[in-house]
């Protein structure tokens, strides 16, 4: 523990923490998007979208060994801790970096630094804000609570993205920001953890690019599909409620 604390105190250690928590969040994102894609699957039984079944599974995951919802909460807690560490370390590092150059250059020309790399703090902050919004919209249903029905994932998506165009556009934009953040982050984490090598770097770069593009395309496909009107209308609310009651 004291080792971890002393690691946390150093900038290299903080970078390593940012990298490890970044990996955790990337894994989460990949799993998340796999779940999202279930919106495109046909209903396994009439009136029950596949993604709603998946949503129920998430809550019942780990039962009967664990109480209902426990595994999901465990994942949520892990992710929240990872996010908190990620943000706290980044903010602390940003302060150190800011203090390291109190007087800015009058004229500055960058040679190597990509826009993605230089905008990590901005994209990170936007993503954090987006995350808050996203949770309020689709987890707690606080935003737009009149349309929101807990557990009716497909219906919620339909209403949000098909009926309110600004949500669809906003989500696609946010995924663009996410891709930019991941493009630099997924490459940089290898350096922070010391796994980069000149012979591996082209591969690592390609990996980061593919990951960023893949996340963008898959995440964006859901709001785009709903927005386009090609997605089937969800089953009516009563049946949804009945399904919910059964779960």
């Amino acid at each position: 523990m004291s080792r971890l604390l002393s690691l946390y105190r150093s900038t290299l250690g903080k970078k390593a923490i940012v990298a490890v928590t970044g990996v955790a969040m990337l894994v989460f994102l990949v799993l998340h998007v796999i779940g999202n894609l279930k919106a495109f699957l046909p209903d396994p039984q009439l009136g029950v979208p596949d993604i709603d079944v998946y949503s129920r599974y998430l809550r019942s995951m780990g039962t009967p060994l664990l109480p209902h919802g426990a595994a999901l909460w465990a994942i949520r807690i892990v992710m929240l801790v990872a996010l908190a560490l990620h943000v706290v370390c980044v903010v602390k590092l940003a302060r150190i970096n800011h203090a390291a150059r109190p007087i800015r250059y009058h004229r500055r020309r960058f040679v190597e630094a990509t826009t993605a790399a230089r905008s990590m703090l901005v994209t990170g902050a936007i993503l954090l804000a987006f995350l808050g919004f996203h949770l309020l919209q689709f987890t707690t249903g606080t935003i737009d609570s009149e349309r929101f029905v807990e557990g009716a994932v497909y219906a919620n998506l339909y209403r949000a993205f098909h009926e309110v165009s600004i949500f669809a556009i906003g989500y696609v934009l946010a995924m663009g920001i996410l891709a930019t953040h991941v493009y630099h982050g997924a490459w940089s984490l290898f350096q922070s953890l010391g796994y980069d090598r000149p012979d591996r770097n082209p591969g690592l770069r390609a990996f980061a690019l593919l990951l960023a593009l893949g996340l963008f395309v898959t995440f964006s496909s859901v709001p785009v599909a709903f927005f386009s009107g090609k997605m089937p209308v969800p089953p009516d609310s009563k049946r949804v409620a009945a399904v919910k009651g059964g779960g």
């Binding site: 080792r3 970078k15 150190i96 970096n97 250059y105 960058f110 940089s188 290898f190 010391g194």
Partner: protein, 258 residues
């Protein structure tokens, strides 16, 4: 060639600074950037103005004394080149050239374009050596070193300690410098006994000096006059994390009573 120079002037550490504009005329393209400044300084002196202070010594790109951020780039626009080996033929006639000192809280400005880089020395003093005193030593050929390894160590060891990496880094980090120093010895068999103690001590000193942190921009590599690769940063990170997580803490602690 004629140029307009916009040069940062500052009386001393702590006093405020500002840009001054100067015109230099009839500069030969074969003249080096510092010689152009020498000429400016002679003209300033003749007209009773204080010359611009800037550091330089060897003027052949190896001592690492010269600095200057020229048009927003440390050591100017030509890759792999120190300011002293930058020639005016690389600029276009009539150009306005902005000249600033290294900007880093770890490198306070001493006067005009001269900064204090003693932070680098303290990083070295923290552990950038093999503890070996003068006297008879083992026959060097008794420890063969693959030429590739020796070459890679030299790639790191050829750092001239100019500080361009810090000046170029958007975060003012000294990671390229420190990692080059750490890697030089970490690669060689002679550096193994103190490898993990060294990286820990040097990184700690680096942080104490107030340098920023690495965000993998690679601006340092682009600005480095010796074109030292950022691969050494990853190397140092690996060694540092290993030292922090796996190696014994304070391995010499028990030895001190001997």
């Amino acid at each position: 060639m004629n140029f307009v120079l916009k040069i940062w002037r500052q009386e001393g550490t702590g006093s405020g600074g500002a840009f001054s504009h100067y015109e230099v005329r009839d500069v030969e393209p074969t003249v080096s950037f510092l010689e152009m400044l020498d000429t400016l300084n002679e003209e300033l002196t003749e007209s009773g103005q204080e010359p611009v202070a800037f550091d330089s010594d060897c003027r052949e790109g190896i001592c690492g004394m010269c600095s200057l951020v020229i048009n927003g780039q440390p050591h100017g626009p030509i890759p792999g080149t120190t300011t002293c080996q930058l020639y005016m033929r690389h600029f276009s006639d009539g150009e306005e050239i902005t000249i600033e000192p290294w900007r880093s809280s770890a490198f306070p400005v001493l006067r005009d374009l001269v900064v204090d880089r003693s932070a680098f020395d303290r990083v070295m003093q923290a552990g950038g050596y093999v503890t070996v005193h003068s006297g008879p030593k083992p026959e060097p050929n008794s420890i063969p070193i693959e030429p590739e390894v020796a070459e890679e160590a030299l790639d790191a060891a050829c750092c001239i300690g100019c500080g361009a990496c810090v000046a170029a880094c958007p975060n003012g980090a000294a990671m390229l410098y420190t990692s080059a120093k750490v890697s030089h010895l970490a690669l060689l068999p002679q550096g193994q006994p103190e490898r993990y103690a060294r990286v820990t001590a040097m990184v700690e000193q680096m942080e104490e000096e107030g340098f920023g942190s690495c965000r993998n921009y690679a601006e340092c590599e682009a600005a480095c006059p010796k074109e030292i690769s950022i691969k050494f940063i990853g190397r140092m990170n690996r060694d540092y994390l290993r030292a922090a997580l796996r190696e014994p803490i304070n391995p010499r602690g028990k030895m001190e009573s001997q």
